[in-house]
């Protein structure tokens, strides 16, 4: 397990008071807080090592370049990618999906081809594919999920045809907290030679990830959801795909030679890193990853599982609560509603009690439509949350009930 007191003391913002109450931060699916080592690294980097990378000739640019590439290697190791060439730094998961939709799309998707996503995707794993399909005349097929939050493999198998060129699916749903059996999805896709992209934004901070074991062709996640800075993320892509894909954004850094009659591109990973990226963001991501590796992803997984089971048990016991996604392998989040209470009203009152949860559609409008609701209350967890905080949430829910549906 983990030393929760030590962990909590690593995160300075957790001592904050909100509306005169100690902060209970249960909005980690939206973003996570940063440990002192990450904050120190950001300042330290700007103080000691910062410069533009790769193309300088001086001491600081060497130091910064080394730090950036070391960060890439740290991420490679963290997700067990085969090579650092397969680790592309992006602004986040959204940019990673856009990159694949644009670049893979331009090379491999034509009119009449099919792309499969699920009904529970975050908008960032829906809209780029919609646009790609509009642009090319390809068809977007959506695999529906069951009311309990699960995706049935027979539905997926039925959706696959000779025209299916890519499957893109979320590993852990940010709204429902459902963990999809991505290995099974990939095994099925492999039978048909279909590449698979996995949205790992809500997975990578909660469990050990091995992209080679999972077998995915692409994997994306965001730094700010794994205790690192905003504006940094990772696209993992198998070398064979990234090699075959044209550049996404162009400009400096991703070229080999520029001439007005012909420009040639850099090799991997730089082909996909145009301009000056979020250098300190990448370094902060490596620092966050190393922090988690010291605690141990399996330990974090076990601790958080215990926590989320406790949360689900206590929330389910509140009279009038409906939890969306039941009897599922759960991670990261729980979405629920309270009878005859609008989620916005509940969230506003919880806020005044110092409790930060999220309400609304959580960028998953199709999930809300599936259940015929306008939104949910979502509590989402991180390694620094405690059972005491869940007890405070439950007190909050009872207070909400007494004020809004006595």
């Amino acid at each position: 397990m983990i030393d929760i007191d030590a962990v909590r003391s690593d995160f300075p913002i957790l001592n904050k008071e909100v509306h005169g109450k100690p902060l209970v931060y249960l909005d980690n699916a939206a973003t996570t807080h940063k440990p002192g080592v990450v904050l120190d690294k950001i300042i330290g980097f700007y103080t000691e090592s910062y410069s533009n990378i790769h193309r300088g000739v001086h001491y600081l640019s060497d130091k910064a370049s080394a730090a950036y590439e070391d960060a890439r290697e740290t991420v490679r190791d963290f997700i067990n990618a085969g090579s650092a060439k397969e680790v592309i730094f992006t602004r986040g998961t959204t940019e990673a999906v856009n990159l694949v939709a644009d670049s893979f799309g331009r090379e491999f998707i034509k009119k009449g081809d099919e792309i499969i996503i699920s009904e529970m995707e975050h908008h960032s794993n829906i809209v780029p594919w919609q646009l790609l399909c509009q642009r090319t005349g390809a068809v977007l097929k959506v695999i529906l999920f069951e009311d309990d939050g699960s995706i049935r493999m027979d539905r997926l198998k039925k959706g696959i045809t000779k025209k299916t060129k890519l499957i893109s699916m979320v590993y852990v749903s940010n709204s429902l907290g459902v963990v999809n059996n991505v290995k099974e999805v990939i095994d099925i896709a492999k039978e048909h030679d279909i590449p698979v992209m996995i949205d790992g934004a809500q997975a990578v901070q909660h469990m050990p990830i091995d992209v080679r074991d999972i077998g995915c062709d692409f994997f994306a996640f965001s730094g700010h959801k794994i205790y690192a800075d905003t504006g940094i993320g990772v696209l993992y892509g198998k070398e064979k795909w990234l090699d075959a894909m044209p550049p996404y954004q162009t400009g400096g850094g991703m070229i080999a030679n520029v001439n007005f009659d012909k420009t040639t591109y850099a090799g991997l990973p730089y082909k996909f890193e145009a301009g000056t990226g979020n250098i300190v963001g990448a370094v902060s991501l490596a620092t966050a990853v190393e922090y988690l590796q010291r605690i141990g992803m399996s330990n974090i997984d076990a601790y958080e599982h215990d926590l989320i089971d406790y949360a689900e048990e206590r929330i389910a016991a509140v009279e009038g609560v409906t939890i969306y996604g039941k009897n599922i392998d759960r991670c990261a989040a729980i979405s629920f509603n309270m009878k005859d209470i609008h989620h916005f009203d509940a969230g506003s009152i919880l806020d005044k009690m110092g409790i930060a949860i999220r309400t609304g559609m959580h960028c998953t409008e199709p999930i809300m439509k599936h259940y015929g609701i306008s939104g949910t209350i979502r509590a989402s967890f991180a390694l620094y949350n405690t059972k005491d905080e869940i007890d405070r949430l439950i007190e909050g829910l009872h207070k909400v009930k007494s004020m809004l549906n006595p």
Binding site: H342, F344, D345, S348, I349, K352, G360, S374, G375, M403
Partner: protein, 142 residues
């Protein structure tokens, strides 16, 4: 009564409640008693887009005065709408368009004014003022 007089009245009433819980109870009570419009205004053209709560607003003129009908699926939002409509209903449209709604800050609700929340208070006020400007312009042309 003019807009600012009503605002001052509300500020005085809310002054008695300094606990956030009492303020929210008051808003929730207002929201409960806020009668939904008899005709259904919950249509696309009256909707304010956003993902927190749904809000619908309609404006019309009667005898050179502007009247709003509004609805929301959230009780707290209905309470805020009740206060806004108390201040602004039946006023000259130009006064509504030019109004400085200082009561919101004074009664401690300015935290709800974040412009990032698509149909938070700021959006509602923006829409109301836009209707008022439009109807004022239409009215002046007559």
């Amino acid at each position: 009564m003019r807009i600012n007089e009503i605002q001052d009245e509300i500020i005085e009433e809310m002054d008695a409640l300094d606990d956030w819980m009492d303020k929210y109870e008051y808003l929730i009570d207002l929201g409960r008693n806020f009668t939904s419009p008899k005709e259904n205004i919950k249509t696309e053209d009256h909707a304010l887009k956003g993902c927190q709560s749904e809000v619908w607003i309609r404006a019309e003129m009667k005898d050179d005065r502007i009247f709003f009908t509004a609805d929301s699926d959230s009780l707290i939002t209905r309470g805020m709408l009740a206060l806004l409509l108390r201040v602004l209903n039946g006023q000259p449209p130009k006064d509504v368009a030019d109004s400085d709604l200082y009561f919101i800050d004074k009664i401690g609700l300015s935290t709800n004014l974040s412009p990032s929340r698509a149909n938070g208070l700021a959006s509602i006020i923006k829409q109301i003022k836009s209707y008022a400007s439009q109807l004022n312009a239409d009215n002046s042309e007559k």
